[in-house]
């Protein structure tokens, strides 16, 4: 049984004139101990998926359809009070900006011990020892002395280590990491990814890693899902999606990433831009930008299933998926 199962999740934002569908029938699952990546451009619904799972959807946003199951039990219909016990205890969260996810007025040690004591039945002294241990595990030098420091006394990379320690404080089964390295420099980013991978492997925690950086996905994840306009368009093993994506959008996205290994005259570019939520195209949301578009793409929405086992290796939502060895058409111009 999968640790986390998301079934047909839809999230709506009621507006004065219309209802915006920010997530549309998203389904995926995460096995225990697995690292699943979610990629997509800004506004594709990656962070919203994460927020729905930890029950932190900002009103008026609401789950209009679908279920979220953690360890086989539904967590999307829990009361806020019940959800507070799941969040932190069973699902940990790491956000992009380590400065805003820590309270600037409380010492790091206080924040850690509070978190530990609210989820685990430990005495203040035990919680303190555990907090020091956690800081040590995340690679903070002189952890015992730094417990009394405040967040502003830490550098960006160190702060993110503290946030990781906080997320791991109650030994959660699942960690939602929303752009954990985006605010950091490359050299620090590599350290944090390594740390996250190592700690989660050690503790057997599953991770949902939300990022727009394919390099980070390639380094850290087992499987990856590609999102576009609130829909999951492709899910598969990392190397397959990166090097042999079936969906034309995923293929275009991968080709537009500049590389340090080769220089190309021009980068591949996908024409146009992602639709606004107010005007999501009919059928397949990608059809106005797709080079393989057919009348069927305008009329019918493709679902995320392997349409033909001989054609595709992993689920893809496309009527005309690309073969593994299918090359992208000639460079499209600006």
């Amino acid at each position: 049984m999968a640790l986390l199962e998301v079934r047909n999740l839809s999230v709506e934002f009621p507006q004065r004139r219309a209802v915006l569908k920010a997530l549309d029938q998203v389904s995926f699952s995460i096995e225990a101990g697995e690292i699943l990546g979610l990629v997509g451009e800004s506004g594709a619904g990656k962070s919203l998926t994460g927020a729905s799972i930890i029950g932190l959807l900002e009103p008026p946003g609401r789950i209009s359809e679908g279920q979220i199951l953690l360890g086989g039990a539904r967590i999307d219909d829990l009361s806020p009070e019940q959800m507070r016990h799941v969040r932190g205890k069973r699902i940990g969260a790491i956000f992009q900006d380590p400065l805003t996810s820590l309270n600037p007025l409380l010492s790091v040690g206080y924040q850690l011990t509070q978190t530990i004591q609210s989820h685990l039945p430990l005495s203040a002294q035990q919680a303190w020892q555990r907090a020091v241990q956690l800081l040590q595990d995340t690679g903070i030098p002189a952890a015992a002395e730094r417990m009394t420091n405040y967040p502003h006394q830490f550098s960006g990379g160190m702060r993110q280590r503290v946030v990781i320690a906080l997320a791991l404080a109650a030994e959660p089964e699942l960690i939602i990491a929303d752009e954990p390295t985006t605010a950091l420099d490359v050299s620090i980013q590599a350290q944090i990814i390594e740390l996250l991978k190592r700690l989660c492997r050690q503790r057997g925690a599953a991770v949902m890693l939300i990022t727009h950086d394919m390099g980070v996905i390639a380094e850290a994840c087992d499987r990856v899902g590609v999102m576009y306009a609130g829909r999951l368009v492709e899910v598969g093993a990392v190397q397959q999606v990166i090097h042999a994506a079936h969906h034309p959008y995923s293929r275009g996205l991968m080709a537009s990433i500049p590389s340090t290994d080769v220089t190309r005259e021009r980068l591949h570019q996908i024409p146009g831009s992602m639709p606004r939520l107010t005007a999501i195209p009919s059928g397949c949301a990608f059809h106005p930008r797709c080079e393989r578009v057919s009348p069927r793409c305008l009329a019918e929405r493709p679902v995320l299933t392997p349409s033909d086992a001989t054609l595709t290796h992993h689920p893809v939502a496309c009527w005309h998926p690309l073969h593994a060895n299918h090359a992208l058409s000639a460079e499209d111009s600006a």
């Binding site: 451009e41 490359v186 050299s187 590599a190 390099g215 537009s256 340090t260 021009r266």
Partner: protein, 328 residues
């Protein structure tokens, strides 16, 4: 290759006074504090070429960019634009003509456009400031042309910035920068706020514009892959100093400075196991108290006693310029 540099930077330094207020210094006996943001930087940018500067946050890239367009005055050294001292010329009445020839594109397309102005006013402002247009009709036509040249619709001129996506906004800032027909563009992280697919569109646009108009770019980025795509020369900065400067081809095929190698290693690769990664150690030190000798020595795997004591000078070495005791 005939050398015809458009911009020459000679021994450029910038210090910022970050001392506590006078009263605190007197009462608490705190000392004056100077932050050395850029130290003794030398380089040339050839006409029609792109020089990229890379480095982590706090290494002085953006300060250098602002020095080069005259937004900051240097503490030491000089910037020569076509052989004439830039900051002296800008201080004189004829400085405005020089300012027309250099423009800047900023990182955040959400912060660099006035949200209360229509796009036509944003793009037209340099036209009026530099008096390149005389009438409203002329101005509107010119704005239309500029928007078209960056791949937007001339009808977009009546919209407000919030009606555009991040990539389109960055196109608007490029159109604004091109309005005064500059020769030299300083781009400070122009794509780091954008998604990869949008980044590809903006980078391609910048390359096309460079080819059409013979523009010279100073391109500042922390992303080495982007730098490889756009630049002819690359300078790597660490704590305010240039540590390595080479042609793009050489730098990526043969990175010499340990810091450059570390930066290249740190980039997550799409292909697994293509290279065993050196574990990156440590963080960028506090620029208020930089390490002695070579500023990189606490993180450097090849550090020796010499590195701890003596700062390596920038030397010419096998066609590149490098400041490292272990290499040259």
């Amino acid at each position: 290759m005939t050398r015809n540099p458009l911009v020459q930077v000679r021994g450029l330094s910038k210090r910022f006074d970050v001392s506590p207020p006078w009263l605190n210094r007197v009462i608490e006996g705190k000392p004056r504090q100077l932050l050395q943001a850029v130290s003794e930087v030398d380089f040339d940018i050839e006409r029609g070429q792109t020089l990229a500067l890379v480095g982590e946050s706090g290494c002085g890239k953006s300060t250098l960019a602002r020095l080069l367009v005259g937004l900051y005055a240097p503490s030491q050294g000089e910037v020569l634009f076509e052989g004439a001292n830039l900051h002296d010329t800008l201080a004189q009445p004829q400085g405005r003509a020089l300012r027309r020839r250099m423009q800047m594109i900023f990182q955040d397309p959400y912060a660099s456009l006035n949200p209360r102005w229509r796009v036509r006013d944003i793009v037209a402002e340099p036209l009026w400031v530099h008096q390149t247009v005389k009438t409203q009709a002329q101005c509107l036509q010119r704005v239309g042309e500029l928007l078209e040249s960056v791949g937007l619709n001339p009808l977009d001129a009546n919209k407000f910035p919030h009606q555009f996506s991040g990539g389109q906004r960055q196109r608007i800032s490029i159109a604004r920068a091109l309005a005064s027909q500059p020769e030299f563009l300083v781009c400070d992280e122009p794509t780091s706020a954008l998604d990869v697919s949008v980044q590809a569109q903006v980078l391609n646009l910048m390359l096309d514009l460079q080819r059409e108009r013979g523009l010279t770019y100073l391109f500042i980025s922390h992303n080495l892959a982007v730098v490889r795509q756009v630049s002819d020369q690359v300078g790597v900065m660490y704590l305010g100093r240039l540590v390595e400067m080479a042609s793009t081809e050489t730098l990526f095929s043969q990175p010499r400075h340990p810091y450059t190698r570390m930066l290249l290693d740190a980039i997550p690769k799409l292909r697994p196991g293509s290279q065993t990664r050196l574990p990156v150690q440590g963080e960028v030190p506090n620029p208020l108290s930089p390490p002695s000798g070579c500023a990189f020595h606490p993180r450097c795997p090849q550090a020796t006693d010499l590195c701890r004591q003596q700062r390596p000078e920038m030397k010419n070495f096998q066609g590149i310029r490098i400041a490292c005791h272990a290499v040259a």
